[in-house]
Symmetry: C2
Subunit: 193 residues, 2 copies
DNA sequence: CGCGACGTTGATTTGCCTCAACGATTGTGG
DNA sequence: CCACAATCGTTGAGGCAAATCAACGTCGCG
């Protein structure tokens, strides 16, 4: 698939896009190759871009006071990722974003996003839907964290994100679930009733 | 303050609204008085409306398999609340919304919201910002839940939401934090170093 | 080949829960 | 307006889920 076509498909799932608008969108995106372990956004710096993942796997994580990494999200193909707090407010990022596998992303700067909003008002709708879906996803994760033990959260994770489970190490999954790799290992060997 | 003026102020923090648009917005809102303990949305039914809280205190909560209530959010004046999953998708709500104190809300149905998006494209921007802020808020809560022990989460809660702490019982706060009231009580008596 | 990260196992510890009991508030029907 | 019931916040004893720490074989990578 043409790389730009992949993003346009993603956008056209929610709004319709004219030929001239397609050219506009393409002109505002910057392709970036990201090697495994390469950092796209470093905590403390400002998130100036939002990234669409075309290939590979990215993650965002928060480093706490003890120096432990807490994974906030994974992103594979067709996902958008940034530190939304920093991107929204211009404050320093709390999250680091790096690649778990070699990746290709298309980056859209905040300025170019605002330009899109101006020149193409329907893009505001697309982005509204993107944010609304992200809100639903995060709220659903909060509900799960509050109401389920780790074993059940792990089962739900496998069910909801099978595309992640294959490509991501146990250690990363444990961090996403908020448990230690040792404990995840003990869950995995239990009979999966 | 004129009740409708309160919502318009809230909206005008993010977009500008003409006189005719103000009338349109007012015409699509329905005022509702909600008595303490009255249920605005019941889990299992579809969330047809999003509610703007003018006075009083609402909460949304999830009832898990053991029958325990897990509080997802509180809403006081100038907050918007719904089951965003149900409102977005039309699926049955996972959350129940009720009043912790007598409240006055302005309800906007999904149909009327779509009408607003059509007749007033800048409202899409307002709602995008609302969803984006909600996303930031939920993600920040996930980070806290992953990276901090209960005692620290309680401190941060008091700091971030002093307007809640005064009006909400310890039991409700404990449920929001994901701990038992007994354990919260034991945290509170510790020297707040 | 050799090194470092990974996944696992087991022993021990701990943060938080469960259950039970109590006085203090709050709510409510008569 | 009172009396009673219900809920709240708290305390303490005991228990469990999950963390910590240490050790070890395996694997991917330089």
């Amino acid at each position: 698939m043409q790389p730009a076509a992949q993003i346009l498909d993603n956008i056209q799932k929610h709004i319709s896009v004219s030929a001239s608008e397609k050219k506009l969108i393409e002109s505002l995106l910057v392709q970036q190759k990201v090697a495994k372990k390469e950092v796209l956004l470093e905590a403390g710096k400002v998130a100036t871009d939002i990234h669409f993942v075309s290939q590979g796997v990215l993650r965002s994580y928060f480093t706490d006071l003890e120096g432990d990494q807490n994974i906030v999200m994974f992103a594979v193909n067709d996902w958008w990722i940034t530190d939304i707090f920093s991107f929204s407010t211009g404050n320093p990022a709390q999250l680091t974003i790096d690649a778990l596998e070699d990746a290709v992303v298309y980056s859209l700067s905040k300025e170019n996003l605002e330009l899109l909003f101006l020149k193409m008002p329907t893009f505001e709708r697309f982005f509204r839907i993107l944010m609304q879906n992200a809100y639903v996803r995060e709220q659903s994760r909060i509900i799960q964290n509050l109401s389920m033990p780790a074993e059940e959260r792990y089962r739900q994770f496998l069910k909801k994100y099978p595309q992640f489970a294959e490509r991501i190490t146990q250690k990363q999954i444990a961090s996403y679930l908020g448990i230690t790799p040792e404990f995840l290992s003990s869950l995995r060997k239990k009979p999966n009733s």
